[in-house]
Protein backbone atom coordinates (compact mmCIF):
# COMPACT_ATOMS: atom_id res chain seq x y z
CA UNK A 1 0.00 0.00 0.00
CA UNK A 2 2.37 2.60 -1.24
CA UNK A 3 -0.39 4.84 -2.50
CA UNK A 4 -0.81 8.18 -0.92
CA UNK A 5 -4.36 8.88 0.22
CA UNK A 6 -5.93 12.00 -1.17
CA UNK A 7 -8.79 11.78 1.30
CA UNK A 8 -7.54 11.04 4.78
CA UNK A 9 -8.77 11.10 8.38
CA UNK A 10 -10.66 14.44 8.10
CA UNK A 11 -12.87 13.07 5.29
CA UNK A 12 -13.33 9.74 7.08
CA UNK A 13 -14.27 11.54 10.30
CA UNK A 14 -16.61 13.82 8.37
CA UNK A 15 -18.44 10.90 6.74
CA UNK A 16 -18.87 9.34 10.18
CA UNK A 17 -19.90 12.52 11.99
CA UNK A 18 -22.32 13.63 9.27
CA UNK A 19 -23.83 10.14 9.46
CA UNK A 20 -24.27 10.30 13.23
CA UNK A 21 -25.83 13.79 13.05
CA UNK A 22 -28.13 12.86 10.15
CA UNK A 23 -29.17 9.66 11.93
CA UNK A 24 -29.81 11.48 15.20
CA UNK A 25 -32.02 14.10 13.52
CA UNK A 26 -33.97 11.49 11.54
CA UNK A 27 -34.54 9.33 14.63
CA UNK A 28 -35.39 12.29 16.86
CA UNK A 29 -37.82 13.80 14.34
CA UNK A 30 -39.50 10.45 13.69
CA UNK A 31 -39.89 9.78 17.42
CA UNK A 32 -41.36 13.24 17.91
CA UNK A 33 -43.82 12.92 15.03
CA UNK A 34 -44.77 9.36 15.90
CA UNK A 35 -45.55 10.46 19.44
CA UNK A 36 -45.90 7.28 21.40
CA UNK A 37 -48.45 7.69 24.14
CA UNK A 38 -49.65 11.25 24.22
CA UNK A 39 -49.07 14.32 22.13
CA UNK A 40 -46.13 14.90 19.82
CA UNK A 41 -43.16 13.36 21.54
CA UNK A 42 -45.34 12.03 24.32
CA UNK A 43 -43.55 9.57 26.55
CA UNK A 44 -40.46 9.64 24.36
CA UNK A 45 -40.06 13.40 24.38
CA UNK A 46 -36.69 13.10 26.11
CA UNK A 47 -35.43 10.80 23.31
CA UNK A 48 -36.44 13.42 20.75
CA UNK A 49 -34.69 16.03 22.85
CA UNK A 50 -31.38 14.16 23.07
CA UNK A 51 -31.49 13.57 19.32
CA UNK A 52 -32.25 17.23 18.67
CA UNK A 53 -29.24 18.39 20.72
CA UNK A 54 -26.98 15.73 19.20
CA UNK A 55 -27.84 16.36 15.54
CA UNK A 56 -26.19 19.70 14.64
CA UNK A 57 -22.93 19.32 16.62
CA UNK A 58 -21.26 16.41 14.77
CA UNK A 59 -22.41 17.72 11.39
CA UNK A 60 -20.93 21.16 12.06
CA UNK A 61 -17.66 19.63 13.33
CA UNK A 62 -17.55 17.31 10.31
CA UNK A 63 -18.09 20.14 7.83
CA UNK A 64 -15.37 22.11 9.62
CA UNK A 65 -12.98 19.19 9.17
CA UNK A 66 -13.85 19.09 5.46
CA UNK A 67 -12.97 22.75 5.06
CA UNK A 68 -9.65 22.30 6.92
CA UNK A 69 -8.80 19.44 4.60
CA UNK A 70 -9.33 21.45 1.39
CA UNK A 71 -6.20 22.11 -0.65
CA UNK A 72 -7.10 25.79 -0.89
CA UNK A 73 -7.45 26.12 2.89
CA UNK A 74 -4.09 24.40 3.44
CA UNK A 75 -2.52 26.78 0.92
CA UNK A 76 -3.77 29.75 2.93
CA UNK A 77 -6.90 30.72 0.97
CA UNK A 78 -9.14 30.44 4.01
CA UNK A 79 -12.43 31.50 2.52
CA UNK A 80 -12.12 30.09 -0.97
CA UNK A 81 -14.48 27.23 -0.05
CA UNK A 82 -17.32 29.74 -0.27
CA UNK A 83 -17.02 29.22 -4.06
CA UNK A 84 -19.17 26.16 -3.34
CA UNK A 85 -22.12 28.48 -2.85
CA UNK A 86 -21.71 30.25 -6.18
CA UNK A 87 -23.04 27.31 -8.20
CA UNK A 88 -25.44 24.41 -8.04
CA UNK A 89 -24.62 21.62 -10.44
CA UNK A 90 -25.26 17.90 -10.57
CA UNK A 91 -22.02 17.04 -8.80
CA UNK A 92 -22.92 15.02 -5.69
CA UNK A 93 -20.62 17.28 -3.68
CA UNK A 94 -22.46 20.40 -4.84
CA UNK A 95 -25.86 18.95 -3.99
CA UNK A 96 -24.40 17.71 -0.71
CA UNK A 97 -23.11 21.15 0.20
CA UNK A 98 -26.57 22.66 -0.13
CA UNK A 99 -28.14 19.71 1.70
CA UNK A 100 -25.67 20.06 4.59
CA UNK A 101 -26.27 23.80 4.79
CA UNK A 102 -30.02 23.27 5.01
CA UNK A 103 -29.46 20.44 7.47
CA UNK A 104 -27.39 22.61 9.81
CA UNK A 105 -29.96 25.43 9.66
CA UNK A 106 -32.97 23.17 10.25
CA UNK A 107 -31.28 21.11 12.98
CA UNK A 108 -30.26 24.28 14.83
CA UNK A 109 -33.85 25.58 14.70
CA UNK A 110 -35.07 22.17 15.81
CA UNK A 111 -32.59 22.06 18.72
CA UNK A 112 -33.59 25.61 19.72
CA UNK A 113 -37.24 24.54 20.16
CA UNK A 114 -36.10 22.14 22.90
CA UNK A 115 -33.90 24.68 24.63
CA UNK A 116 -36.12 25.89 27.47
CA UNK A 117 -36.00 23.78 30.63
CA UNK A 118 -39.74 23.11 30.68
CA UNK A 119 -40.04 22.26 26.97
CA UNK A 120 -42.68 19.64 26.37
CA UNK A 121 -45.46 18.57 24.02
CA UNK A 122 -47.85 21.46 23.35
CA UNK A 123 -45.62 24.30 24.57
CA UNK A 124 -45.15 27.60 22.69
CA UNK A 125 -42.53 26.17 20.30
CA UNK A 126 -44.65 23.13 19.44
CA UNK A 127 -45.65 24.23 15.90
CA UNK A 128 -42.11 25.26 14.98
CA UNK A 129 -40.74 22.04 16.45
CA UNK A 130 -43.13 19.89 14.43
CA UNK A 131 -42.45 21.86 11.24
CA UNK A 132 -38.70 21.39 11.74
CA UNK A 133 -39.24 17.68 12.40
CA UNK A 134 -41.24 17.26 9.19
CA UNK A 135 -38.34 18.79 7.23
CA UNK A 136 -35.81 17.00 9.42
CA UNK A 137 -36.80 13.46 8.46
CA UNK A 138 -36.20 13.78 4.69
CA UNK A 139 -33.22 16.08 5.24
CA UNK A 140 -31.54 13.62 7.61
CA UNK A 141 -32.13 10.72 5.24
CA UNK A 142 -30.89 12.91 2.36
CA UNK A 143 -27.62 13.75 4.11
CA UNK A 144 -27.07 10.13 5.14
CA UNK A 145 -27.65 8.86 1.59
CA UNK A 146 -25.58 11.63 0.03
CA UNK A 147 -22.44 10.55 1.90
CA UNK A 148 -22.68 7.23 0.04
CA UNK A 149 -23.60 8.79 -3.31
CA UNK A 150 -20.56 11.10 -2.99
CA UNK A 151 -18.25 8.09 -3.05
CA UNK A 152 -20.36 6.06 -5.48
CA UNK A 153 -20.27 8.57 -8.33
CA UNK A 154 -16.98 7.45 -9.84
CA UNK A 155 -16.47 4.47 -12.18
CA UNK A 156 -12.74 4.90 -11.60
CA UNK A 157 -13.13 3.69 -8.00
CA UNK A 158 -14.62 0.20 -8.30
CA UNK A 159 -14.95 -0.35 -4.54
CA UNK A 160 -17.19 2.68 -4.16
CA UNK A 161 -19.01 2.57 -7.47
CA UNK A 162 -21.97 0.56 -6.23
CA UNK A 163 -25.58 1.60 -5.69
CA UNK A 164 -25.71 -0.34 -2.44
CA UNK A 165 -23.02 1.79 -0.77
CA UNK A 166 -25.46 4.67 -0.23
CA UNK A 167 -27.96 2.27 1.38
CA UNK A 168 -25.21 0.88 3.62
CA UNK A 169 -24.27 4.39 4.72
CA UNK A 170 -27.92 5.27 5.34
CA UNK A 171 -28.43 2.24 7.59
CA UNK A 172 -25.13 2.84 9.36
CA UNK A 173 -26.07 6.50 9.89
CA UNK A 174 -29.43 5.61 11.43
CA UNK A 175 -27.84 2.93 13.61
CA UNK A 176 -25.04 5.23 14.84
CA UNK A 177 -27.61 8.00 15.36
CA UNK A 178 -29.63 5.70 17.61
CA UNK A 179 -26.42 4.66 19.39
CA UNK A 180 -25.46 8.30 19.99
CA UNK A 181 -28.88 8.97 21.56
CA UNK A 182 -28.61 5.82 23.69
CA UNK A 183 -25.14 6.81 24.85
CA UNK A 184 -26.23 10.36 25.71
CA UNK A 185 -29.22 9.27 27.74
CA UNK A 186 -27.30 6.62 29.68
CA UNK A 187 -24.40 9.00 30.39
CA UNK A 188 -26.79 11.72 31.59
CA UNK A 189 -29.05 9.25 33.41
CA UNK A 190 -30.25 10.27 36.83
CA UNK A 191 -32.34 7.99 39.03
CA UNK A 192 -35.93 9.12 38.62
CA UNK A 193 -38.01 9.80 41.72
CA UNK A 194 -41.30 8.27 40.65
CA UNK A 195 -41.82 4.85 39.06
CA UNK A 196 -43.86 6.32 36.19
CA UNK A 197 -40.94 8.29 34.73
CA UNK A 198 -38.60 5.38 35.47
CA UNK A 199 -40.90 3.17 33.38
CA UNK A 200 -40.95 5.78 30.60
CA UNK A 201 -37.16 5.77 30.63
CA UNK A 202 -37.08 1.96 30.36
CA UNK A 203 -39.70 1.91 27.62
CA UNK A 204 -37.83 4.40 25.41
CA UNK A 205 -34.64 2.44 26.11
CA UNK A 206 -36.37 -0.65 24.80
CA UNK A 207 -37.58 1.11 21.66
CA UNK A 208 -34.13 2.48 20.92
CA UNK A 209 -32.40 -0.84 21.53
CA UNK A 210 -34.93 -2.77 19.46
CA UNK A 211 -34.60 -0.33 16.55
CA UNK A 212 -30.83 -0.58 16.78
CA UNK A 213 -31.00 -4.38 16.52
CA UNK A 214 -33.26 -4.07 13.48
CA UNK A 215 -31.00 -1.50 11.81
CA UNK A 216 -27.83 -3.52 12.48
CA UNK A 217 -29.57 -6.60 11.08
CA UNK A 218 -30.40 -4.75 7.87
CA UNK A 219 -26.88 -3.34 7.76
CA UNK A 220 -25.40 -6.83 7.99
CA UNK A 221 -27.71 -7.97 5.18
CA UNK A 222 -26.49 -5.14 2.97
CA UNK A 223 -22.84 -5.88 3.78
CA UNK A 224 -23.49 -9.54 2.97
CA UNK A 225 -25.01 -8.60 -0.41
CA UNK A 226 -22.14 -6.23 -1.13
CA UNK A 227 -19.52 -8.88 -0.41
CA UNK A 228 -21.43 -11.68 -2.11
CA UNK A 229 -21.95 -9.84 -5.38
CA UNK A 230 -18.37 -8.57 -5.32
CA UNK A 231 -17.14 -12.12 -4.79
CA UNK A 232 -19.27 -13.47 -7.63
CA UNK A 233 -18.13 -10.89 -10.17
CA UNK A 234 -14.86 -10.59 -12.08
CA UNK A 235 -12.30 -7.89 -12.72
CA UNK A 236 -12.01 -4.53 -11.01
CA UNK A 237 -14.66 -5.01 -8.31
CA UNK A 238 -13.48 -8.50 -7.38
CA UNK A 239 -9.91 -7.24 -7.16
CA UNK A 240 -10.99 -4.27 -5.00
CA UNK A 241 -13.11 -6.26 -2.57
CA UNK A 242 -10.41 -8.93 -2.15
CA UNK A 243 -8.56 -6.31 -0.09
CA UNK A 244 -11.13 -6.65 2.70
CA UNK A 245 -12.03 -10.29 2.12
CA UNK A 246 -8.53 -11.55 2.74
CA UNK A 247 -6.11 -8.79 1.88
CA UNK A 248 -4.38 -5.99 3.75
CA UNK A 249 -7.53 -4.59 5.34
CA UNK A 250 -9.18 -7.90 6.22
CA UNK A 251 -8.53 -7.70 9.98
CA UNK A 252 -9.64 -4.10 10.08
CA UNK A 253 -12.88 -5.01 8.36
CA UNK A 254 -13.78 -8.35 9.97
CA UNK A 255 -12.66 -7.53 13.51
CA UNK A 256 -13.57 -3.87 13.89
CA UNK A 257 -16.49 -3.38 11.51
CA UNK A 258 -18.22 -6.75 11.51
CA UNK A 259 -17.41 -8.24 14.92
CA UNK A 260 -17.07 -5.24 17.25
CA UNK A 261 -19.28 -2.84 15.33
CA UNK A 262 -22.14 -5.09 14.26
CA UNK A 263 -22.22 -8.70 15.46
CA UNK A 264 -21.44 -8.31 19.17
CA UNK A 265 -23.68 -5.24 19.76
CA UNK A 266 -26.53 -6.86 17.82
CA UNK A 267 -26.29 -10.12 19.79
CA UNK A 268 -25.99 -8.43 23.17
CA UNK A 269 -28.83 -6.00 22.45
CA UNK A 270 -30.93 -8.86 21.12
CA UNK A 271 -30.29 -10.80 24.32
CA UNK A 272 -31.65 -7.91 26.37
CA UNK A 273 -34.75 -7.21 24.28
CA UNK A 274 -35.83 -10.88 24.15
CA UNK A 275 -37.59 -10.94 27.57
CA UNK A 276 -39.60 -7.79 26.75
CA UNK A 277 -40.23 -8.86 23.16
CA UNK A 278 -41.39 -12.42 23.70
CA UNK A 279 -42.49 -12.65 27.35
CA UNK A 280 -43.56 -9.05 28.01
CA UNK A 281 -41.25 -8.82 30.97
CA UNK A 282 -39.62 -5.58 32.05
CA UNK A 283 -36.78 -4.30 29.90
CA UNK A 284 -33.68 -4.35 32.12
CA UNK A 285 -30.17 -3.52 30.98
CA UNK A 286 -27.15 -3.22 33.30
CA UNK A 287 -25.73 0.29 33.28
CA UNK A 288 -22.36 -0.89 31.96
CA UNK A 289 -23.95 -2.55 28.95
CA UNK A 290 -26.02 0.55 28.31
CA UNK A 291 -22.76 2.48 27.95
CA UNK A 292 -20.58 -0.08 26.17
CA UNK A 293 -22.97 -1.19 23.39
CA UNK A 294 -23.54 2.26 21.85
CA UNK A 295 -19.78 2.90 22.02
CA UNK A 296 -19.16 -0.35 20.11
CA UNK A 297 -21.74 0.62 17.48
CA UNK A 298 -20.17 4.08 17.10
CA UNK A 299 -16.66 2.61 16.82
CA UNK A 300 -17.97 0.19 14.20
CA UNK A 301 -19.59 3.06 12.27
CA UNK A 302 -16.30 4.96 12.23
CA UNK A 303 -14.32 1.90 11.18
CA UNK A 304 -16.81 1.20 8.37
CA UNK A 305 -16.14 4.67 6.94
CA UNK A 306 -12.41 4.19 7.49
CA UNK A 307 -12.26 0.86 5.66
CA UNK A 308 -14.50 2.02 2.80
CA UNK A 309 -12.63 5.30 2.22
CA UNK A 310 -9.15 3.75 2.41
CA UNK A 311 -9.88 0.64 0.31
CA UNK A 312 -11.65 2.76 -2.31
CA UNK A 313 -8.51 4.83 -2.78
CA UNK A 314 -5.91 2.07 -2.79
CA UNK A 315 -7.79 0.07 -5.44
CA UNK A 316 -8.58 1.14 -8.96
CA UNK A 317 -9.23 -0.19 -12.43
CA UNK A 318 -7.04 -3.19 -13.17
CA UNK A 319 -5.06 -2.95 -16.39
CA UNK A 320 -4.26 0.12 -18.41
Amino acid sequence: MTNELNWGIPVIAYLFLAGVGAGALTVSSSVLLRGGGGKFGGGHFDVARYGAYLAPIPVIIGCGLLVFELGSFEAGHWFKWLNMYKVINLSPMSIGTWLLTMFIAVSLVYAYTFWSRDAGPGDRHDTLRRAAAWIGVPLGIGVAIYTGVLLGAMPSRPFWNSPILALLFLLSSLSTGVAAIMLARSVLYKKKLDTASENHYRESGYILTASDVLLIGLEMTVIFLFLMFAHLTVGDVKHAVSVILGGDMATMFWLWVVLIGLLIPALVEFFFIIPRLLKHREFEVPRGMELIMPVAVLVGGFMLRYVVVVVGQVTGPVGI
Partner: protein, 253 residues
Protein backbone atom coordinates in the same frame (compact mmCIF):
# COMPACT_ATOMS: atom_id res chain seq x y z
CA UNK B 1 -72.09 -14.24 -43.98
CA UNK B 2 -72.59 -10.55 -44.03
CA UNK B 3 -71.82 -10.56 -40.36
CA UNK B 4 -68.70 -12.53 -41.15
CA UNK B 5 -67.63 -10.01 -43.78
CA UNK B 6 -67.98 -7.12 -41.40
CA UNK B 7 -65.91 -8.88 -38.84
CA UNK B 8 -63.35 -9.67 -41.55
CA UNK B 9 -63.21 -6.02 -42.53
CA UNK B 10 -62.88 -5.12 -38.89
CA UNK B 11 -60.17 -7.64 -38.58
CA UNK B 12 -58.35 -6.32 -41.64
CA UNK B 13 -58.66 -2.71 -40.57
CA UNK B 14 -57.50 -3.65 -37.11
CA UNK B 15 -54.55 -5.44 -38.63
CA UNK B 16 -53.83 -2.44 -40.84
CA UNK B 17 -53.86 -0.09 -37.90
CA UNK B 18 -51.64 -2.50 -36.02
CA UNK B 19 -49.23 -2.59 -38.94
CA UNK B 20 -49.32 1.18 -39.10
CA UNK B 21 -48.53 1.37 -35.41
CA UNK B 22 -45.80 -1.21 -35.86
CA UNK B 23 -44.41 0.86 -38.71
CA UNK B 24 -44.48 3.94 -36.53
CA UNK B 25 -42.77 2.05 -33.74
CA UNK B 26 -40.11 0.75 -36.11
CA UNK B 27 -39.68 4.27 -37.43
CA UNK B 28 -39.24 5.60 -33.91
CA UNK B 29 -36.80 2.82 -33.14
CA UNK B 30 -34.85 3.68 -36.29
CA UNK B 31 -34.72 7.31 -35.24
CA UNK B 32 -33.71 6.27 -31.73
CA UNK B 33 -30.97 4.00 -33.03
CA UNK B 34 -29.85 6.80 -35.30
CA UNK B 35 -29.54 9.10 -32.28
CA UNK B 36 -25.96 8.19 -31.39
CA UNK B 37 -24.98 9.10 -34.94
CA UNK B 38 -26.81 12.40 -34.57
CA UNK B 39 -25.01 13.01 -31.28
CA UNK B 40 -21.71 12.25 -32.98
CA UNK B 41 -22.50 14.71 -35.74
CA UNK B 42 -23.25 17.27 -33.07
CA UNK B 43 -19.87 16.63 -31.46
CA UNK B 44 -18.06 16.84 -34.75
CA UNK B 45 -19.78 20.17 -35.43
CA UNK B 46 -17.46 21.48 -32.73
CA UNK B 47 -14.84 23.26 -34.84
CA UNK B 48 -11.68 21.94 -33.24
CA UNK B 49 -11.04 18.86 -31.11
CA UNK B 50 -7.44 18.76 -30.01
CA UNK B 51 -5.94 15.35 -29.42
CA UNK B 52 -2.66 13.54 -29.35
CA UNK B 53 -1.33 10.37 -30.93
CA UNK B 54 1.62 8.81 -29.15
CA UNK B 55 3.60 6.50 -31.37
CA UNK B 56 5.30 4.32 -28.76
CA UNK B 57 7.49 2.73 -31.45
CA UNK B 58 9.30 6.04 -31.67
CA UNK B 59 9.57 6.61 -27.90
CA UNK B 60 12.99 5.86 -26.37
CA UNK B 61 11.96 6.59 -22.76
CA UNK B 62 14.28 9.60 -22.38
CA UNK B 63 11.87 11.61 -20.18
CA UNK B 64 12.52 14.79 -22.16
CA UNK B 65 8.74 15.38 -22.26
CA UNK B 66 8.55 15.06 -18.46
CA UNK B 67 11.35 17.60 -18.04
CA UNK B 68 9.95 20.01 -20.64
CA UNK B 69 6.59 19.90 -18.88
CA UNK B 70 8.17 20.43 -15.48
CA UNK B 71 10.07 23.44 -16.83
CA UNK B 72 7.08 24.90 -18.66
CA UNK B 73 4.87 24.90 -15.58
CA UNK B 74 7.27 24.84 -12.65
CA UNK B 75 5.48 21.70 -11.43
CA UNK B 76 6.25 21.12 -7.71
CA UNK B 77 8.65 18.37 -6.69
CA UNK B 78 6.94 14.99 -6.45
CA UNK B 79 4.16 15.81 -8.93
CA UNK B 80 3.88 15.33 -12.68
CA UNK B 81 1.59 16.62 -15.37
CA UNK B 82 3.25 14.28 -17.83
CA UNK B 83 5.38 11.25 -17.18
CA UNK B 84 6.76 8.10 -18.86
CA UNK B 85 6.12 4.58 -17.59
CA UNK B 86 8.38 1.62 -18.35
CA UNK B 87 6.68 -1.72 -18.94
CA UNK B 88 9.02 -4.68 -18.65
CA UNK B 89 7.77 -8.17 -19.27
CA UNK B 90 8.68 -11.72 -20.17
CA UNK B 91 11.23 -14.27 -19.00
CA UNK B 92 14.78 -14.45 -20.40
CA UNK B 93 15.44 -14.69 -23.28
CA UNK B 94 11.99 -13.59 -24.43
CA UNK B 95 11.79 -10.17 -22.86
CA UNK B 96 10.83 -6.63 -23.79
CA UNK B 97 10.70 -3.16 -22.36
CA UNK B 98 8.17 -0.72 -23.73
CA UNK B 99 7.57 2.91 -22.90
CA UNK B 100 4.22 4.44 -22.18
CA UNK B 101 4.20 8.25 -22.07
CA UNK B 102 1.27 9.46 -19.96
CA UNK B 103 -0.68 12.69 -19.66
CA UNK B 104 -4.24 13.91 -19.24
CA UNK B 105 -6.42 12.17 -21.84
CA UNK B 106 -8.66 15.22 -22.40
CA UNK B 107 -11.69 12.97 -22.52
CA UNK B 108 -14.83 13.89 -24.43
CA UNK B 109 -16.99 12.76 -21.48
CA UNK B 110 -14.68 13.48 -18.55
CA UNK B 111 -15.69 12.21 -15.12
CA UNK B 112 -13.57 14.91 -13.45
CA UNK B 113 -15.85 17.57 -14.95
CA UNK B 114 -19.07 15.83 -13.92
CA UNK B 115 -18.01 15.56 -10.25
CA UNK B 116 -16.54 19.07 -9.88
CA UNK B 117 -18.76 20.89 -7.34
CA UNK B 118 -17.66 24.41 -8.26
CA UNK B 119 -17.42 24.17 -12.05
CA UNK B 120 -13.68 24.90 -11.84
CA UNK B 121 -12.87 21.92 -14.06
CA UNK B 122 -14.42 22.36 -17.48
CA UNK B 123 -14.14 21.18 -21.05
CA UNK B 124 -13.51 24.03 -23.44
CA UNK B 125 -16.26 24.27 -26.04
CA UNK B 126 -13.95 25.69 -28.70
CA UNK B 127 -11.27 22.99 -28.76
CA UNK B 128 -12.22 20.19 -26.34
CA UNK B 129 -9.33 20.83 -23.94
CA UNK B 130 -10.16 19.90 -20.34
CA UNK B 131 -8.81 22.61 -18.06
CA UNK B 132 -8.92 23.76 -14.43
CA UNK B 133 -9.67 27.32 -13.43
CA UNK B 134 -7.36 27.87 -10.43
CA UNK B 135 -9.34 30.95 -9.39
CA UNK B 136 -12.46 28.86 -8.77
CA UNK B 137 -11.03 25.48 -7.66
CA UNK B 138 -11.15 24.98 -3.89
CA UNK B 139 -8.99 21.85 -3.79
CA UNK B 140 -11.59 19.30 -2.66
CA UNK B 141 -9.73 16.55 -4.57
CA UNK B 142 -12.95 14.98 -5.86
CA UNK B 143 -11.69 15.13 -9.47
CA UNK B 144 -8.44 13.43 -8.41
CA UNK B 145 -10.52 10.49 -7.15
CA UNK B 146 -12.68 10.49 -10.29
CA UNK B 147 -9.91 10.46 -12.90
CA UNK B 148 -9.34 6.87 -14.09
CA UNK B 149 -5.91 7.88 -15.44
CA UNK B 150 -4.53 9.39 -12.25
CA UNK B 151 -3.63 12.40 -14.37
CA UNK B 152 -4.48 14.89 -11.64
CA UNK B 153 -2.75 15.95 -8.45
CA UNK B 154 -3.26 18.47 -5.71
CA UNK B 155 -0.73 21.24 -6.22
CA UNK B 156 0.79 21.83 -2.76
CA UNK B 157 1.81 25.40 -3.64
CA UNK B 158 -1.45 26.71 -5.09
CA UNK B 159 -3.71 24.28 -3.21
CA UNK B 160 -5.79 23.51 -6.30
CA UNK B 161 -6.20 20.54 -8.64
CA UNK B 162 -3.58 20.56 -11.36
CA UNK B 163 -2.97 18.55 -14.52
CA UNK B 164 -1.88 18.69 -18.16
CA UNK B 165 -3.88 21.23 -20.16
CA UNK B 166 -2.28 20.50 -23.57
CA UNK B 167 -0.23 23.69 -22.99
CA UNK B 168 -3.29 25.79 -23.69
CA UNK B 169 -1.24 29.02 -23.56
CA UNK B 170 1.11 27.73 -26.29
CA UNK B 171 -1.60 26.08 -28.39
CA UNK B 172 -3.68 29.27 -28.51
CA UNK B 173 -0.61 31.04 -29.95
CA UNK B 174 -0.29 28.42 -32.65
CA UNK B 175 2.60 26.58 -30.98
CA UNK B 176 2.78 22.88 -30.16
CA UNK B 177 2.67 21.72 -26.51
CA UNK B 178 6.06 21.70 -24.75
CA UNK B 179 6.27 17.89 -24.65
CA UNK B 180 5.58 17.63 -28.38
CA UNK B 181 8.09 20.34 -29.18
CA UNK B 182 10.86 18.60 -27.26
CA UNK B 183 10.22 14.96 -28.23
CA UNK B 184 13.41 13.82 -30.01
CA UNK B 185 11.82 10.77 -31.60
CA UNK B 186 8.77 12.60 -32.86
CA UNK B 187 6.64 10.14 -30.91
CA UNK B 188 4.05 12.72 -29.91
CA UNK B 189 1.79 14.07 -32.61
CA UNK B 190 -0.56 16.85 -31.57
CA UNK B 191 -3.33 18.34 -33.65
CA UNK B 192 -6.97 18.75 -34.53
CA UNK B 193 -8.85 15.45 -34.74
CA UNK B 194 -11.70 17.14 -36.61
CA UNK B 195 -9.44 18.27 -39.44
CA UNK B 196 -9.14 15.28 -41.76
CA UNK B 197 -6.07 16.78 -43.40
CA UNK B 198 -4.07 17.16 -40.19
CA UNK B 199 -1.06 14.95 -39.46
CA UNK B 200 -2.80 13.48 -36.43
CA UNK B 201 -5.85 12.51 -38.49
CA UNK B 202 -3.62 10.83 -41.07
CA UNK B 203 -1.80 8.93 -38.32
CA UNK B 204 -5.13 7.87 -36.84
CA UNK B 205 -6.43 6.71 -40.21
CA UNK B 206 -3.36 4.77 -41.28
CA UNK B 207 -2.41 3.06 -38.01
CA UNK B 208 -4.13 0.81 -35.50
CA UNK B 209 -4.65 3.00 -32.44
CA UNK B 210 -5.88 2.30 -28.94
CA UNK B 211 -6.80 4.31 -25.88
CA UNK B 212 -6.11 3.59 -22.21
CA UNK B 213 -8.85 2.09 -20.02
CA UNK B 214 -11.46 2.30 -22.75
CA UNK B 215 -13.97 0.51 -20.51
CA UNK B 216 -14.14 3.57 -18.29
CA UNK B 217 -16.27 5.17 -21.00
CA UNK B 218 -14.62 8.57 -20.83
CA UNK B 219 -13.81 8.70 -24.57
CA UNK B 220 -10.17 9.81 -24.32
CA UNK B 221 -8.62 12.00 -27.00
CA UNK B 222 -5.08 10.70 -26.45
CA UNK B 223 -4.43 7.71 -28.68
CA UNK B 224 -1.55 5.28 -28.70
CA UNK B 225 0.10 3.36 -31.51
CA UNK B 226 1.55 0.00 -30.40
CA UNK B 227 0.94 0.67 -26.71
CA UNK B 228 1.77 -2.14 -24.33
CA UNK B 229 -1.31 -2.49 -22.14
CA UNK B 230 0.34 -4.98 -19.78
CA UNK B 231 -0.23 -4.28 -16.12
CA UNK B 232 1.25 -5.87 -13.01
CA UNK B 233 -2.18 -6.36 -11.55
CA UNK B 234 -3.59 -8.20 -14.53
CA UNK B 235 -4.66 -11.47 -13.08
CA UNK B 236 -4.70 -14.73 -14.99
CA UNK B 237 -1.33 -14.35 -16.63
CA UNK B 238 1.80 -16.07 -15.38
CA UNK B 239 4.06 -13.77 -17.35
CA UNK B 240 6.47 -11.58 -15.45
CA UNK B 241 5.42 -7.92 -15.70
CA UNK B 242 7.02 -4.97 -13.98
CA UNK B 243 5.78 -1.43 -14.37
CA UNK B 244 7.98 1.48 -13.31
CA UNK B 245 5.86 4.60 -13.07
CA UNK B 246 8.68 7.10 -12.35
CA UNK B 247 6.28 8.96 -10.10
CA UNK B 248 5.80 9.46 -6.41
CA UNK B 249 3.17 6.73 -6.66
CA UNK B 250 5.06 3.53 -7.35
CA UNK B 251 1.96 1.73 -8.58
CA UNK B 252 -0.54 2.68 -11.22
CA UNK B 253 -3.76 3.83 -9.66
Amino acid sequence: MRQQNTSDTNYISARRSFLKKLGAAVGTATVASALPTTARTAVSKQKVQYGMVIDTRRCIGCHACTIACKAEYDVPLGSNRSWVEYVEKGDYPNVSRNYLPRLCNHCSTPNCVSVCPTGATYRREEDGIVAVDPEICIGCKYCIQACPYDARFSNPVTGVADKCDFCVHRVSEGLAPACVETCIGGARIFGDLNDSGSEISRMMATNPVSVLRREQGTQPNVFYIAADHSDERNRGTNQYVRVTTHRKYEERR
